[in-house]
């Protein structure tokens, strides 16, 4: 397929007379470009866009296991959302989601930054170790949950065994069965999953900072702490913003960690919004209510995507 030859750029505001063939060729060029985008666009519309719309539609109906069997669910308008927002269950899940996300993020970002700074110094086998460090992030979350469930087992888990051996605890800690401890445990495991990702991104951000300023400051006798605070950190901040937004997105997105570790228990102590939506759909068969919870999550992710975009813009301008 032959298309138009290169054309001189138009200077704005000045009309240029063009032969009809050139106009046709350019139009054809635009059509060809659009054709490259089409398959992905159609796919995304069908498999992500359409389900999102269907989900809104489902949330406006009273659909439960019974209505599934009897056919069309009756239209109830905003009823599901109203009842959801009036329920204690929802607000408790929202609060737990906030704690879970904030706790995981602070911990994984801090550890990730420390590791990134450490790997920033060059040493033999650095890349191999950095690559192996990514394993916790790349393992299936269900496998992660399984491994930690075994380790945190209250009676004979190795974590309690180790704590006992070190005389740090006198009695077994109910990591997954205590209402207080369970939330700490899911934060711990989600942190473990998130550290590699934070390390990888912050390391890349550090590598992109030109070393001259830092060297000049070193010549002037600035210590490592001051150099980090006044030179490295300001230049790393845009990357840090992107990392944090993505951390929130990944934490909100996946109920797998919590489902595998605690199933949202004990007594709902680890029921985040994503877990709540899962439970509403698969154990209570309240599909309309689950769709409403799903909508809340979609709204939050829309806001996050906007923040992500502006963080990216800022990161690129620097």
């Amino acid at each position: 397929m032959r298309s138009a030859r290169l054309r001189a750029p138009d200077t704005e505001g000045r009309l240029r007379v063009q032969p009809a063939a050139a106009v046709r060729a350019r139009r054809r060029d635009t059509v060809v470009r659009a054709a490259f985008l089409t398959p992905a666009a159609v796919y995304l519309l069908l498999f992500l866009g359409r389900p999102l719309v269907d989900n809104i539609e489902a949330s406006l109906r009273e659909s439960t296991a019974t209505t599934l069997l009897r056919g069309r669910a009756p239209f109830t308008g905003p009823d599901n959302h109203v009842r959801l927002l009036a329920s204690d269950e929802f607000w408790r899940a929202a609060a737990i989601t906030g704690l879970y996300t904030a706790g995981s993020l602070v911990a994984q970002f801090t550890a990730g930054l420390a590791l990134a700074l450490f790997f920033h110094r060059r040493f033999p086998l650095g890349r191999l170790v950095r690559s192996l460090m990514l394993l916790p992030w790349l393992m299936p979350l269900v496998a992660t949950g399984t491994a930690w469930r075994w380790m945190l087992d209250a009676d004979d888990g190795v974590v309690n065994e180790a704590l006992r051996a070190l005389h740090l605890v006198t009695s077994d800690v109910p990591w997954l069965t205590g209402t207080q401890e369970a939330l700490w445990s899911v934060v711990l495991v989600n942190t473990w999953v998130g550290i590699p990702f934070n390390t990888a991104l912050l390391y890349t951000g550090l590598q992109a900072i030109p070393p001259q300023t830092d060297e000049a400051a070193q010549l002037d006798g600035a210590g490592p702490v001051r150099r980090f605070r006044f030179i490295t950190w300001p230049q790393l901040r845009p990357t840090a913003a992107v990392v944090l937004v993505l951390g929130v997105i990944y934490t909100l997105r996946a109920p797998d960690v919590v489902l595998a570790l605690t199933g949202g228990g004990p007594a709902g102590a680890t029921q985040t919004l994503a877990v709540l939506a899962f439970e509403q759909a698969y154990t209570q068969y309240e599909f309309g209510r689950a769709a409403a919870t799903g909508n809340v999550l979609v709204l939050v992710s829309l806001v996050l995507a906007l923040i992500h975009l502006s963080a990216l813009r800022r990161a690129r301008r620097l």
């Binding site: 491994a147 997105i249 979609v298």
Partner: protein, 279 residues
């Protein structure tokens, strides 16, 4: 004038290896749960309670059981993940190429849509997708899972490939166009070979996303006909089985592709997160 002493001298070899030593200690700390998983998987079946850290009497019994029960599930996971990697690349590469040409009508909104769709929780679309699949006969099919799992792979691959193709020197593209090459030619014989690295990176991650998916696999399958290993593991946990060694062996087998890829595809694994997220 005295010569200026070079700033950061290369540290002596001994000091550099000290860094490696600390790194290995940190790595051991970070991967201790993985070690725990492996050690639990080779304990004798008789010992139903979680055991100790030591690999004293390794027993392959857990793996025998796991492979017997889950061999099919592993194959299913492999087929679905490879399919997802292939489909994600086939859909994303042309789109990424179109996004590097300016001006494309609708490129800005399209990119924002990709960012937004990357953030959408699977739980919000899984149920709706179930209804759509029930109408179209995609339930319990490899194709159905491949199409659903690609919802993670496609946006990621578009972002990675757009970065790579945007880095190809414009002069090259323009020279090819001047010689009369159409977009298809430029895409196939210039862009794809030059962004081979990014294609592998995007493919590896699309594969891993699909391999680790539990939610779609749970929602869009109804029985044992098409059943990825993540679902088996999830069911094991639900049954609260006391056969820890078989459960843990399944968890190890499910983590195997990730473990192999962090060793084999180091360069792609370490650059992947950054190019998918920050450009």
């Amino acid at each position: 004038m005295a010569p200026v002493r070079p700033l950061k001298r290369r540290p002596r070899p001994a000091r550099r290896w000290a860094g490696t030593l600390v790194a290995i200690v940190l790595l051991a700390l970070m991967l201790s749960p993985v070690y725990g998983m492996v050690s639990a998987s080779v304990q004798p079946a008789g010992r139903s309670q979680p055991g100790s850290w030591l690999l004293s009497d390794a027993d392959p019994g857990g793996y025998v059981t796991a492979l017997h029960d889950q061999g099919g599930a592993l194959v299913t996971s492999l087929v679905v993940s490879l399919g997802t990697a292939a489909l994600s690349l086939a859909l994303s590469a042309p789109a990424a190429y179109a996004l590097t040409l300016s001006p494309v009508p609708g490129a800005g909104p399209f990119l924002f849509a990709v960012l937004f769709l990357q953030a959408v929780p699977g739980i919000s679309v899984a149920n709706a997708l179930h209804g759509f699949y029930a109408d179209t006969g995609l339930l319990d099919s490899y194709l159905g899972l491949i199409l659903a799992d690609s919802t993670a792979g496609v946006p990621f691959a578009i972002l990675v490939l757009r970065t790579a193709m945007g880095a190809v020197p414009r002069e090259l593209v323009e020279a090819a166009r001047l010689d009369g090459a159409g977009h298809r030619r430029v895409f196939l014989s210039l862009m794809l070979p030059l962004s081979m690295n990014a294609l592998v990176t995007a493919g590896v991650f699309a594969f891993l996303f699909a391999w680790g998916d539990t939610l779609f696999a749970l929602t869009l399958t109804t029985g044992d006909a098409v059943r990825p290993v993540t679902v088996s593991l999830f069911d094991y946990l639900g049954a609260h089985s006391t056969r820890w060694n078989a459960t843990m062996a399944t968890a190890v087998l499910a983590s195997l592709p990730a473990a192999v890829l962090v060793v084999v595809a180091q360069r792609h694994i370490t650059t992947g997160p950054a190019c998918g997220a920050t450009h």
